[in-house]
Amino acid sequence: MTAASASPRVPTEAGKERSMSLQKQMIAGHYTALSRAPQDGRKVVYTFVPGNLTELVRSFNLLPMLPEINALQSGMRKLSGDYIAEAEKHGHSEDVCTYVKCDIGMLKKGNIGPTGEKLPPPDLLLLSYTGCFTFMKWFELLRQEYDCPVAMLHVPYQSEGRILPHHVDYIVQQLCTEVIPKLEQVSGLRYDEDRLREMLRLSAQAEDDLVWVLESAKHIPSPIDAYFGGVYYIGPMFTAFRGTAEGVAYYRTLHEEVEERLRSGLGPLTPEGSQEKERYRLVMEGPPNWTSFREFWKMFYDEGAVVVASSYTKVGGLYDGGFRHDPARPLETLAEYCMGCYTNLGLPTRVELLERYIREYRADGFMINSIKSCNSFSVGQLLMLRQLEQRTGVPGGFIESDLVDPRYFSAANIKNRIESYLQMLEQKRAGANP
């Protein structure tokens, strides 16, 4: 999700690099704090991006660490292939999630994190079981590796497309009886609701700015790429910086930069520089591939394709649907946040969301990157494709890759599919305007 260490080339204009360097500093600082945690006497909580309880964790002065982020960083640094092989050598099936295997492999090879520093073992595994079955098995596997407690938080699935009051009650009860007592036990601190409220207030501030940035893509041409660029924008929000002053400052800076790009009529910032021509506006469903992230992005850039909205940037919260963390209802708002994450939504709701994106962002097309590792995302995507085409009249494209297994990124095949799809959009456009 976040990829500060692999940020796009720093542009020459000073105003456009501030948020990038800020994010890079924030994430490097966080990893350093993690690596120093044992000698600094700080405790570490491993947890997941969807349904993460960052504010709650930080309100106990604990440091959150997200194994998915370590895995994707390993993918971008071309380390994941070896890690996956290591996990498979230890008996993990080739059929299962490569994030899990990358994480287990990294652990078996010494747990060296993305910044080259050794990562600390967890003092607590906060198993926020939100939108992904694999999460449960992942932390059960880690529990075997580390001698530490697990706090299990079961987040009910939104199969009916709405949050039910007794589901909120269920999560709040789990927070009170399972999660908070274990955070208190690990940290040695009592639950401080006032502190949590203050952090939630900061979260909501940053969330306003993030939504503004994401929605700037409604402009034609878009000043951002909401998928390849979007994964950088969501980085601090989806990981360790919600509820912090740093997070607020980052999103304020980002907002100002994008506003400036918009005023200047500039396109998205990419590793190749500013994208000057916006030939195709696309909506994207599914996570990106991390092992060939830059090459993948360039395939779109070369064709003048800009992603104006994506579902992946909603896995850590659906803020553009109106949700904001609400300091007045601290535990209830955390419950609602967890349930609202994208992969916790029923398939019909996901289709409705993508349909809305296609219309509101005036997309020419939509594309699904189907990920081998991720059944939570992938199962049903072929039906989603048909439904979206029927509902919007906009044609869809379909490609397949994986999160961090380099064996499943076939560059020539994917490039060929993207080009063919965009040619088809071009012909359709020409047919409509002879």
Partner: protein, 390 residues
């Protein structure tokens, strides 16, 4: 084979082969207004469906004999087989006899399949049954009761009649008897697996997906009476093994036959686990809905789809090995099955600590070639008999 036993086995074989759910249609046609509710693996509270006067129907895919023509168009190559055959059954109208469909929370595939069902068949009743992963009566128990109350209300609406507490108590008793008879069959097989071969036991069990529980229990009892009369069935020098990983997508019958022919007596397994999910009696006294809640929290089978507290992984498997005097474990999981395959390394490490031999392979419900599996299982069985200290 005794003609009575032969007829019984033939009947359950026909039920197993009948993709058109003729038995369900026949049951519905016998009385006006009858309804049937389908469910996917692993567990749903069938007692509630039964108490509403409806027939619970287990849909466990379509094995190796159904040609998948349309189902593959809905799923990528890296997704397991059961959703393909299930969609194929539905698109070919074989599941039209069902008045609703329940999808329990076992994995992301079955979960998302519930959403696909909603979109593909908007006129039908669909419910995702989100089982609690918190087992505190005041937390997970309260949540599960609310979920059951909603399901109860839905089923009342569908059936057009209330589910009275007395009817629910009766249904609980009916399923208690059914599960108890299955346990009896499993115990008998464990004692004399040559008398109750798994290839037959499985078909008997599978009939429970389609028949009313009262009929199924009678069938099981009949089999328990008839099988020991087969004097030709004799013990062979085979290894006693526990089969693990088959709780959702079912292996083809040929695979179970292959294991037995390769020298393995299956003395315990997790085939069709939903039929015996509750490990013990559910109380028939007091508030029946609360009895279902308590049974789920305290008597559910240990399986990969359920969260287990610290230190419990593999405990039930080791207990099963000891209790059934098994000499080894075969991990037999469907390809691309996240729960089974992610669970496997944890179970293996437990078995290694206990010194219990094991082997592993994957299958798909439409696997048609068993030569490699036969060789592997045969070698495993030989190695146990030749070298194991167990």
């Amino acid at each position: 084979m005794n003609p009575e036993l032969s007829n019984l086995v033939q009947r359950v074989q026909e039920l197993n082969d009948d993709f058109d759910l003729t038995a369900v249609r026949t049951w519905k046609e016998a009385e006006t207004g009858r309804k049937a509710i389908g469910y996917m693996p692993i567990y749903v509270p069938r007692e509630l469906i039964h108490a509403a006067g409806m027939l619970p129907v287990g849909i466990m895919g379509a094995g190796e004999r159904l040609e998948i023509i349309r189902g593959d168009a809905y799923f990528q190559s890296y997704i397991c087989h059961i959703p393909r055959s299930t969609i194929e059954l539905a698109l070919t109208r074989r599941l039209d006899v069902l008045d609703g469909m329940l999808f329990p929370s076992i994995c992301d595939v079955i979960r998302n399949l519930s959403g696909m069902w909603t979109m593909l068949f908007p006129e039908r009743y669909v419910r995702y049954v989100d089982l609690p992963q918190n087992f505190d009566p005041e937390v997970g128990g309260v949540y599960w009761r609310r979920e059951l109350e909603t399901l109860r209300a839905d089923l009342c609406r569908l059936s057009g009649r209330p589910i009275e507490d007395e009817a629910l108590r009766h249904s609980i008793a009916v399923y208690n008897e059914n599960r108890s008879t299955i346990r009896e069959l499993y115990s008998a097989r464990s004692r004399q697996p040559w008398v109750y071969p798994t290839s037959e036991v499985y078909l008997l069990l599978r009939a429970g997906n389609l028949l009313p529980p009262e009929d199924h229990t009678r069938l099981l009892r009949e089999y328990l009476r008839l099988a020991p009369l087969e004097t030709e069935r004799r013990d062979r020098d085979q290894s006693r093994i526990v089969l693990v990983g088959t709780f959702c997508e079912q292996p083809p019958l040929g695979l179970l036959l292959t294991l037995e022919r390769a020298g393995c007596w299956i003395v315990d397994d997790d085939l069709l686990l939903g039929l015996r999910w509750t490990m013990g009696e559910i109380s028939c006294a007091g508030d029946p809905l609360q009895a279902l809640v308590e049974a789920f929290l305290t008597k559910s089978a240990e399986t990969a789809a359920r969260y287990l507290p610290e230190g419990e992984h593999g405990r039930a498997l080791v207990d099963s090995v000891r209790r059934n005097r098994a000499e080894g474990v075969i991990f037999c999981a469907p390809s691309f099955c996240d729960p089974a395959l992610l669970e496997q390394p944890m179970l293996i490490s437990r078995l290694d600590r206990e010194g219990i031999p094991h082997t592993q392979f994957k299958y798909s419900e439409d696997t048609g070639q068993f030569a490699v599996i036969r060789e592997q299982a045969g070698t495993f069985s030989d190695s146990i008999r030749l070298w194991s200290q167990a």
